[in-house]
């Protein structure tokens, strides 16, 4: 049933991205929240606890002893058919890792937000995407957002996608720890959450643990059976690509904000297109707009849907460039091209004779500062590469002391 666009009364609140997520969880009437604190995610579940204590959200809050338990508790709850939520970051996400596979394998539509953070050792509480990128192959649908408003919106969209009977996969919503998680922005939140609940109604009809109709969850599948269930996940993931697109459009019709797998600016006649993701996009966008007004042929794009990977959209959005520069904030150690998104962009163009060249740049590791000046330097370098006609076959580790690229 399509929700009709109504006159929505909005509240304009100053919210950090963490709080925006908590508001979305409240407005979506989530039933079970499992919580374990980890910087910089903690204020998400703190705020949710406040909502529950104040009677604004009727949910069960489970305090657990680790992130492994946090996701396990959410899995148990979700298996009974209810709407479950949890949030984490960094080491917490790593500790959850085996449960990530279990949740997607059991096809439980849990939504989890990740305030991305660098990994130990050495200890860094600051931001990069090493944690989130490590979950690439866990069969979680993964969206990366770039503002507090978008985080609110993405969590709403996430439940609608996750609980769709055709999908039934968990969704991870990632955003920059600190840079976004603790930065306050104006966020529009509907005064009456009914509109959100009608947009993403709960799906209680899925297969679940129910005493009136017993089933077995968590079975063993021998070599004659296992592969078929994994192939089901392959298909569901690919179906999700279309589903996310549909939900984005539906969301636009109801709420008036439009999201895409990949967002672009100034790409039409650009020779160089930069591609990045998360909060850093704002800096890239601002820098590229200025360069454009100076007549430089440079465009910028932001990847929002990371898994499933929108390969066709990438080709459409970036195919007109001569050089695509992918700025990653995670390292796949030991790989010649070490940027996870760069690798995926290259594989999207594989076998296409008219494909642009792709260059991989690693920035912002452990929240190493990325400013408009950094972006301008990368663009300068990209144009020099075009002149020379020789694209580096290895990732560039931009800004490491002692490493210089001529």
């Amino acid at each position: 049933m399509a929700v009709q666009k109504a006159e929505i009364k909005w509240k304009r609140l100053p919210l950090s991205t963490n709080y925006a997520v908590a508001y979305a969880v409240k407005d979506l009437d989530v039933d079970v929240v499992s919580a374990y604190p980890i910087t910089p995610q903690t204020t998400v579940v703190e705020k949710i606890a406040e909502f529950i204590a104040d009677g604004e959200l009727d949910a069960e809050m489970i305090h657990v002893e680790s992130e492994h338990s946090a996701l396990s508790a959410a899995a148990g709850a979700s298996a009974t058919g209810v709407r479950a939520f949890t949030a984490t970051a960094s080491q917490g996400l790593e500790l959850m890792h085996e449960v990530l596979h279990i949740v997607s394998g059991l096809r439980l539509p849990i939504v989890m937000t990740v305030a991305t953070r660098a990994l130990s050792a050495p200890i860094s509480i600051w931001n990069d995407y090493s944690d989130l990128m490590n979950t690439r192959d866990t069969s979680w649908i993964t969206l990366i957002v770039s503002s507090a408003q978008e985080a609110y919106d993405a969590v709403v969209e996430a439940y609608k996608v996750a609980e769709d009977p055709e999908i039934l996969l968990p969704v991870m919503v990632g955003y920059d720890g600190y840079i976004m998680s603790h930065t306050y922005e104006p966020v529009l939140v509907p005064e009456d959450p009914t509109i959100v609940r009608e947009f993403a109604p709960k799906n209680y009809d899925r297969i679940k643990l129910d005493p009136d109709r017993p089933v077995t969850f968590g079975t063993i599948a021998d070599p004659n059976w296992y592969y078929e269930f994994k192939y089901q996940q392959v298909e569901a993931m690919m179906r999700a690509l279309k589903k996310i697109e549909e939900v984005n459009e539906e969301f636009y019709k109801v709420f008036g904000r439009r999201y895409k797998h990949i967002e672009t600016c100034c790409t039409d006649d650009a020779d160089v297109i930069l591609l990045t993701y998360g909060g850093i996009y704002g800096t890239f966008l601002e820098a590229v707009r200025k360069m454009n007004s100076n007549g430089e042929k440079v465009g910028v794009a932001r990847l929002r849907t990371w898994r499933p990977f929108p390969a066709e959209d990438i080709v459409k959005a970036l195919g007109s460039a001569r050089l695509v520069v992918v700025a990653d904030r995670a390292i796949s150690y030991g790989a010649r091209i070490a940027g996870p998104v760069a690798l995926e962009v290259m594989s999207s163009f594989y076998g296409d004779p008219d494909a642009p060249q792709v260059m991989s740049v690693i920035v912002g590791i452990g929240q190493r500062r990325v400013t408009e000046k950094t972006v301008a330097e990368i663009v300068d370098y990209a144009f020099r590469v075009l002149e020379r006609g020789r694209v580096p076959r290895e990732s560039l580790y931009w800004g490491v002391r002692g490493v210089r690229y001529e």
Partner: protein, 107 residues
Amino acid sequence: MAEKELPPYNKLPPGAVVLEPGNMAERYTGDWRIFRPVLNQDKCIRCLLCWVFCPDDAFEIVEEPYTTKTGRRYKFSLKIDYYHCKGCGICVEECPVNAIDFVEEVK
């Protein structure tokens, strides 16, 4: 007995959930065997100890009268269900008259 044809991926419930109870009977465990118990109907005295001890319920009592070479007559016989028999050898061990041979599976 050969393996039954298994359903394609799109006919299986998501998440490997088992929707109906009591479905272990459908599970093909016959290919676990390295040794196969073979019952000698002539030696067998129908004491049913094998039937009692078999952990897989793989001994079936069938209403087929049998007369041994020495003239003993039985009203029923025993059959081994090789679709489920895992070849554990417990029946071979328990048989008081050594009526069950344990033969290597050769294909």
